[in-house]
């Protein structure tokens, strides 16, 4: 098969790190090529180089056999390369149509010819059966639709090579299947696709060939048909990875958390809770599945005390805590790993040790009469960093020097160390790599085996399925389904997540 892209001996150095070290990748015409690796493995860097957003220090790029220099996205587009970024590059207050034609606008006289643009785009939509309402505003459409808009943007520019950067990270299982089908259709039409992901199942399902990267170098490449999950994860992490979380048999104790008829007030951009009944027992992990934005954030924040309840009660170990302050709740035994690490989980400009004592800085031995004891704080944080495998030379470094996975370990260390009765873990592995996911999952399992209750909220259905003893599904602020481990597979749960099926969830007795 002739090559669409040849990246030859590409090296890119940043001060202190080599992002790409002599990387060579060959991608055949008309194939779906998986590019996989952990965060920081250099996948994004090499693709940014290909798309003209980063300039390589060494190496050559050949597109369709022709050596060329790509110094801006404009060059890349001109050579038929399109990229769908992980974070959508869309104008929220503009229509789908205007987003697609941005940068390649048909004109009539001075003004934009929207009628002609609409005709051209409709043709493309028909050819690839990609449907989006062209008149809708971006802020009004779903994440899956936004992604289709991004793909349409590329197709409208007549790309022959499409780079998809972690496109499934934000999709539901059904939407993911839809995207994989679109990718297959694009391949039929002769399009070459580079598929960046860290979800091995998808790689095996859709790609023809794969390239695996670790720490800036290519560690493996080959036909997908010759790969399996075990071999791929070894190449990614560089060692064997435990695929299952070792846990004791399920034997729940009394209720740690009990929610009765909980409601929260509607707020703009947020889905409020509507009459939620939910309980978590000792030694139990309850997983909350659902498409993001269906009330999971309100659920976590209402229990943690970050937003007030409108009605209903929240009991912790049998005692009402619904009106307590955040600090009171934490003192009574709630730990909270918030969904948005950077916004509510850590303070980036503080040091690692300051972040580690955020939930207890006001108590002895860390402070006495309002004065910190730095010796004790640093001894405590050095120990925590060691036992939670936070990779840093020194706990007095600013937190911002850590990677996402290590930041999350800091949050976990802090929340675990206070030995909570109940841990709320919201999106605990978002944006962290396979090694850190393995570690965090293991820690959650340990906590459960110690007899604590865990409320796990995650947009990753695989994570919910792997860890939860019991799964509840949230849809539009309500619990619409409940399953014990093994009672339902991801497709069944997916139907509840999309609101196609529902049944009353009061409480398990």
């Amino acid at each position: 098969m002739p090559s669409a892209i040849e990246l030859l001996h590409i090296t890119k150095r940043y001060p202190g790190v080599i992002a790409n070290d002599d990387v060579s990748i060959r991608i055949g015409q008309g194939e779906i090529h998986g590019l996989i690796g952990e965060n920081g493995a250099g996948k994004s860097t090499i693709m940014s180089i290909l798309y003209g957003m980063v300039k390589p220090d060494e190496g050559t790029i050949k597109i369709f056999g022709q050596e060329c220099e790509i110094s801006s996205p404009m060059d890349a587009i001109r050579r038929g390369i399109g990229m769908v970024h992980q974070h959508f590059m869309l104008m929220p207050d503009e229509t789908v149509l205007r987003n697609i034609i941005l940068g390649r606008t048909p004109r009539r006289g001075l003004s934009i010819d929207e009628t002609r643009a609409a005709r051209e785009i409709t043709e493309i939509m028909d050819r690839y059966s990609l449907k989006v309402d062209l008149g809708a505003k971006i802020s009004q459409i779903s994440v899956g639709e936004k992604q289709r808009v991004e793909i349409l943007k590329a197709l409208y520019r007549q790309v022959k090579i499409l780079i998809l950067d972690e496109p499934t990270a934000v999709l539901t299982p059904a939407e993911t299947d839809g995207l994989l089908n679109i990718m297959r259709r694009l391949r039929e039409q002769g399009c070459t696709i580079v598929f960046i992901t860290h979800k091995l199942k998808e790689v095996l399902a859709v790609t023809d060939r794969v390239t695996i990267m670790r720490k800036g170098v290519v560690t493996g490449a080959g036909e997908t048909s010759e790969m399996n999950v075990r071999r791929l994860s070894e190449l990614i992490v560089g060692r064997e990875v435990a695929t299952e979380v070792p846990m004791k048999p399920f034997s729940p104790g009394e209720k740690v958390l009990e929610l009765r008829e909980v409601r929260t007030a509607p707020r703009p951009g947020r889905m409020p809770l509507h009459d939620v009944f939910l309980s978590v027992r000792r030694g139990e992990i309850v997983g909350v599945a659902g498409v993001e934005g269906n009330g999971q954030s309100d659920l976590a924040e209402a229990i943690a005390g970050m937003i007030p309840l409108e009605a209903g009660s929240v009991r912790l170990c049998g005692r009402e805590i619904g009106r307590d302050s955040i600090r009171r709740r934490r003192q009574k035994g709630i730990g909270h790993v918030p969904e948005d690490r950077l916004k509510t989980g850590v303070s980036k400009s503080c040091t690692i040790s300051e972040n580690l004592i955020l939930n207890r800085y006001y108590t002895p031995p860390y402070s006495k009469r309002g004065v910190f004891s730095h010796a004790k704080i640093s001894r405590f944080s050095e120990e925590l960093c060691k036992s939670f495998l936070v990779k840093t030379p020194d706990a007095t470094y600013p937190l911002s020097t850590l990677s996402g996975g290590n930041m999350q370990k800091v949050v976990f260390a802090r929340e675990f160390e206070s030995s909570p009765e109940l841990l709320i873990a919201a999106q605990p592995t978002r944006g962290v790599d396979i090694g850190a996911i393995e570690y965090i999952h293991g820690k959650l399992g340990e906590l459960r085996d110690e007899g604590r209750g865990i409320l796990l909220i995650s947009a990753e259905l695989d994570e919910i399925l792997a860890l939860s003893d019991r799964i509840v599904v949230m849809y539009e602020g309500e619990l619409v389904g409940q399953f014990l481990r093994g009672e339902a597979d991801e497709y069944e749960i997916g139907e509840y997540m999309l609101g196609a099926k529902r049944r009353e969830v009061r409480d398990e007795e």
Partner: protein, 318 residues
């Protein structure tokens, strides 16, 4: 109450609104492209000065003065562009610096060019002819808006629609909008952010130059220190409140103009209300407007923590 229908009040309102709106156009363009441009206040001051200086040097020819003001202020705004576009300085800090520079520079140049302090009156000015069409006399509001107004007023009214067309219907407008809403979207579509941003900064300078020229040679015939009196900030308020729509911005400036015009009448009527209170009105209005709009923006974005919405709607749908 009869002031609402008084033609001379409306005519005065339009005169007050015109420089505000011109400056607001510049500010709006910058705002759309993701630049918070508060330097327009200083730009207007510089526009006033250049217009008076050029008119004075060219034997009282206001046309040349205006042309000079537009070109000169656009050139002057390049300093702001250098700070904000080239060196990515904080927009607010750069604006404050520009406003301080504008005040100081014009005071200094007044001493250097006119050999005077505080105030320079144009003695040789040939005032521009005013627009008048006889058949409009009979149509009440149109008459007040257009007849016996400067041609600058007419141009400004036309610019409302030009701006709307520019922003909504042209490729340039789409590029500007893209920069403001998502720089990533613009970049990945192959648009050069710097080029577009430079263009809006220079255009804002040109608009403010015209606003200053109108102020110093049409409403008045002089340059004095502090004559701009915070009009740039009022214009910014109009942009915030008027949203991204030039027509909305125009209506808000007209509202400010109307408040100002009424203030003067009330004062003349001798109602006993201190004049300082009345001249405060537009600014109080600006403050109220800013508060309302920022609170409503806050509520529109996700109101985290204990920020409860003002109205609790029914969510009991199922």
């Amino acid at each position: 109450m009869e002031m609402l229908f008084n033609a001379s009040v409306w005519a005065a309102a339009v005169r007050v609104a015109t420089p505000l709106l011109l400056a607001a156009f510049g500010c709006l363009l910058c705002d759309k492209a993701g630049i918070t441009n508060l330097a327009i206040d200083g730009f207007i001051t510089v526009g006033c000065f250049i217009c008076v200086a050029v008119t004075d040097q060219c034997g009282g020819n206001v046309w040349l003065g205006m042309l000079g003001a537009v070109a000169g202020t656009a050139l002057y705004s390049a300093i702001f562009g250098l700070a904000v576009v080239r060196f990515r300085a904080n927009h607010i800090i750069a604006s404050i610096a520009m406003n301080l520079l504008s005040g100081g520079l014009t005071t200094f140049l007044m001493a250097a060019v006119f050999n005077t302090q505080g105030l320079y009156r144009l003695s040789n000015i040939q005032k521009l002819p005013l627009f008048h069409l006889d058949f409009l006399d009979g149509i009440p509001l149109v008459n007040a808006f257009l007849n016996n107004q400067s041609y600058v007023v007419l141009l400004t009214i036309a610019l409302i629609f030009v701006m709307r067309f520019l922003l909504r219907r042209t490729e340039y407008g789409l590029k500007v909008t893209a920069l403001g809403q998502s720089e990533g979207a613009a970049k990945s579509a192959g648009i050069s952010p710097a080029r577009i941003r430079w263009s809006v900064v220079l255009l804002s300078g040109a608009f403010c130059g015209l606003a200053g020229a109108y102020l110093s040679t049409t409403i008045l015939s002089e340059f004095s220190e502090g004559m701009v009196a915070g009009r740039g900030f009022t214009a910014y308020t109009a942009v915030v409140f008027g949203g991204s729509n030039p027509i909305g911005v125009a209506l808000v400036t007209l509202l400010f103009g109307f408040a100002d015009a009424i203030g003067i009448r009330v004062e003349l009527l001798g109602t006993g209300i201190p004049s300082s209170i009345i001249s405060m009105l537009p600014y109080v209005l600006a403050l109220v407007v800013l508060t309302i709009s920022s609170v409503s923006t806050k509520l529109r974005q996700d109101g985290r923590f204990h920020l409860r919405p003002l109205s609790v709607g029914s969510h009991n749908l199922s």
